[in-house]
C-alpha cells in the first residue's frame, strides 16, 4: 500500500535522505530505527507529504495520518477539540469510534491538552490521527519521554488497532527493543540511507545492529555486510 522508491530529500545543501526505497503492504507493521539524524523523521514527513522530495517517489493507496514527534498538541484547546480537528481532512467530527478504542480519553474530553501528562498527550495524538480514519498510521517516537508502563499500554492499543482494524503502522522508534517487539519487520536507517532491512527477529540477532545501538554508531559498512536481508 505504501511504496517509496529511490527517495532523495534535501534541506538546502544537506542531503537528509539519499535514495531510500521501502514498501509496506496493507495491514503491515514496520519499524524504522537508526541513530539520531539518520533521517527517520524526515522519511515519515516525506510519507505524510510535509517534506517535498528532491527526487524519487512516495505513493500510497489510502489515507495516511501521522502521530508526530513531541505529540504536537493544540495546547490551549480541549482534548475534544484536538480530536475533532484530527478529522479535518475528511470532515469527520464523530468521536465515538476513537473513544471506543481509547476509552481513557472519555474522562479527559474537556481538559486542556497542554495540561495533560506526556502519556495522555501521546494517547490524544494517536486518537487525533485515528480521526482521519487512516489506512496507514505513521508514528514518530512512540516512547519518547514516557514511562515503560505507559509505553506498554500504548503499544497494546497499536497492536489491537493493527489486528482488529487492519491499520498499517510505520513506526519510528529509538527504543529498538520496542520496535522489534511491536513490528515484525524493521528497516535500519543511517545517514539518510537504508543500511539493513528485514524481519525484526533476524535483525535482533545481528551483532552489528546491537552494537549500533549500544554506542558504536559508525557501523553502516558492517551492517551492510552483516545483514543480507533485502530492503
Amino acid at each position: 500500500m505504501l511504496r517509496i522508491d529511490d527517495l532523495v530529500v534535501r534541506y538546502g545543501a544537506a542531503v537528509a535522505l539519499d535514495g531510500v526505497s521501502l514498501h509496506l503492504d496493507a495491514g503491515e507493521m514496520v519499524a524504522l530505527v537508526g541513530p539520531n539524524g539518520a533521517g527517520k523523521s524526515t522519511l515519515l514527513n516525506a510519507v505524510s507529504g510535509l517534506v517535498p522530495a528532491a527526487s524519487g517517489s512516495v505513493t500510497c493507496e489510502g489515507r495516511i495520518a501521522q502521530v508526530p514527534e513531541g505529540r504536537q498538541m493544540f495546547p490551549d484547546m480541549t482534548v475534544e477539540d484536538n480530536l475533532v480537528l484530527g478529522g479535518w481532512s475528511i470532515r469527520n467530527r464523530d468521536l465515538s469510534e476513537v473513544l471506543d478504542l481509547l476509552p481513557d480519553l472519555v474522562r479527559l474530553r474537556k481538559a486542556k491538552a497542554g495540561r495533560l501528562s506526556g502519556g495522555q498527550q501521546q494517547m490524544v495524538a494517536i486518537g487525533r490521527a485515528l480521526m482521519a480514519k487512516p489506512d496507514l498510521l505513521a508514528i514518530d517516537e512512540l516512547s519518547l519521554g514516557l514511562a515503560p508502563l505507559v509505553v506498554a499500554e500504548l503499544a497494546e492499543h497499536l497492536r489491537f488497532l493493527n489486528r482488529d482494524r487492519g491499520t498499517a503502522i510505520l513506526l519510528v522508534e529509538q527504543e529498538v527493543s520496542l520496535a522489534f517487539d511491536l513490528c515484525p519487520r524493521t528497516c535500519v536507517l543511517e545517514a539518510g540511507r537504508v543500511v539493513a532491512a528485514g524481519p525484526s527477529a533476524e535483525l535482533a540477532e545481528s551483532e552489528a545492529v546491537r552494537r549500533a545501538y549500544f554506542g558504536d554508531l559508525g557501523v553502516a559498512g558492517e551492517l551492510r555486510a552483516d545483514t543480507e536481508v533485502p530492503a
Partner: protein, 284 residues
C-alpha cells in the same frame, strides 16, 4: 456631571469603533502572527464605497453590506500579498501591510478624491443617562457588541473557527491534520477586512473620514488590540472602550488635538505593563 456623562457616553460609542478595528488586528495576529497595519484602510474603503452606493440610490443596509463585503475581499487580497511565500517572517509582512495601506490611500484619492466623506446614517437622538446621544452612535455600540459575540462564537463553536485557532496554536500540527494554514491566514485577513469595513460604515456618518484617517483609526485600533494582548477579543473590546472614553475626556477637559497622543501614550503604558506577558507568550 452632565458634561462628564456626555463625554462618557460618546467615548463609549467611539471606543466601540476602535474595538471593531482592534478586533481585526486580533483576528489576523491570532492566526498569522502578523500585525496588519492596513486595518485602518478597510474602514476608509467601506465608508467611501457606502457613500457612493447611497448616492447611487442603493438602499440603506444593502449599500453598507455591499461595502463591508468588498472590504472582506480587499482583506483577502491584502492577506495574499502580506503572507507572501511560505516562511515569510511576520515582521516583513507587517512592513508589507504598511506599504499596502499607503497604496490603498493613493487608490482612494484616485477613486474618491481627498475630501472627507460622511454618508447619511440613522437620524435623531435618544436620551441616555440624561444625555442626548445620536442614534447612529448607539447603533455603533450595538453592532460592535453583536460583532464581538459573533466572532467569539465563530472561534469557539464552529469547526472552521477551531481550525483557525488551531492554525495559530500550532501551525505544524495544523498542517499535519490537513488544515491549509495559508488559507486560514487568508480567511483571517478577509474577516479582518469585514470587521474593519463594519467600523468604517458605522463611524463615517458621525465622524467624516478621508483617505488620511486610516492611520489614526489603525493606531487607536492597534492600541485597543494591544490592551487585549493582540489575542483576546474580549479585552480588546474593553481596551477600545477605555481608549474612547479617555480620548473624549481629554478632548472635553483638555484639548481635542491631544486625542491621538493619549491613544499612543496609553498604548505605550500598556505595552510596558504587559511586556512580561508578551515575553512569556513569545516563549510559548
Amino acid at each position: 456631571m452632565k458634561e462628564f456623562l456626555t463625554y462618557l457616553v460618546t467615548g463609549i460609542t467611539l471606543g466601540a469603533s476602535f474595538a471593531l478595528i482592534g478586533s481585526g488586528f486580533v483576528v489576523v495576529h491570532r492566526v498569522t502572527r502578523i500585525v496588519n497595519f492596513a486595518q485602518g484602510s478597510f474602514a476608509i474603503i467601506a465608508a467611501m464605497m457606502a457613500a457612493s452606493l447611497l448616492r447611487g440610490r442603493l438602499p440603506h443596509g444593502l449599500a453598507e453590506a455591499a461595502a463591508v463585503l468588498v472590504c472582506g475581499v480587499v482583506g483577502a487580497v491584502v492577506g495574499w500579498v502580506a503572507l507572501g511565500r511560505r516562511g515569510t517572517h511576520p515582521l516583513i509582512s507587517l512592513i508589507v501591510t504598511l506599504g499596502l495601506s499607503m497604496l490603498v490611500s493613493a487608490a482612494i484619492i484616485l477613486l474618491w478624491g481627498q475630501d472627507p466623506v460622511s454618508p447619511p446614517g440613522l437620524r435623531g437622538h435618544v436620551t441616555l443617562l440624561g444625555v442626548d446621544v445620536e442614534r447612529q452612535r448607539l447603533l455603533v455600540l450595538l453592532v460592535t457588541l453583536l460583532a464581538f459575540a459573533a466572532v467569539a462564537l465563530f472561534f469557539s463553536r464552529t469547526y472552521l473557527g477551531k481550525a483557525l485557532t488551531a492554525s495559530a496554536s500550532n501551525p505544524y500540527a495544523a498542517r499535519l491534520v490537513g488544515i491549509d494554514v495559508r488559507r486560514m491566514g487568508l480567511l483571517a485577513f478577509a474577516l479582518a477586512g469585514v470587521l474593519g469595513g463594519l467600523a468604517g460604515v458605522l463611524v463615517a456618518p458621525s465622524n467624516a473620514l478621508s483617505f488620511s484617517s486610516d492611520l489614526a483609526l489603525a493606531l487607536s485600533g492597534f492600541a485597543a488590540a494591544v490592551f487585549g494582548g493582540l489575542s483576546s477579543p474580549g479585552r480588546t473590546l474593553v481596551g477600545g472602550l477605555v481608549l474612547g472614553v479617555a480620548g473624549q475626556l481629554t478632548a472635553g477637559y483638555l484639548n481635542g488635538s491631544y486625542q491621538t497622543e493619549v491613544a499612543l501614550l496609553l498604548m505605550l503604558l500598556i505595552m510596558i505593563a504587559r511586556s512580561r506577558t508578551f515575553v512569556a507568550e513569545e516563549a510559548k
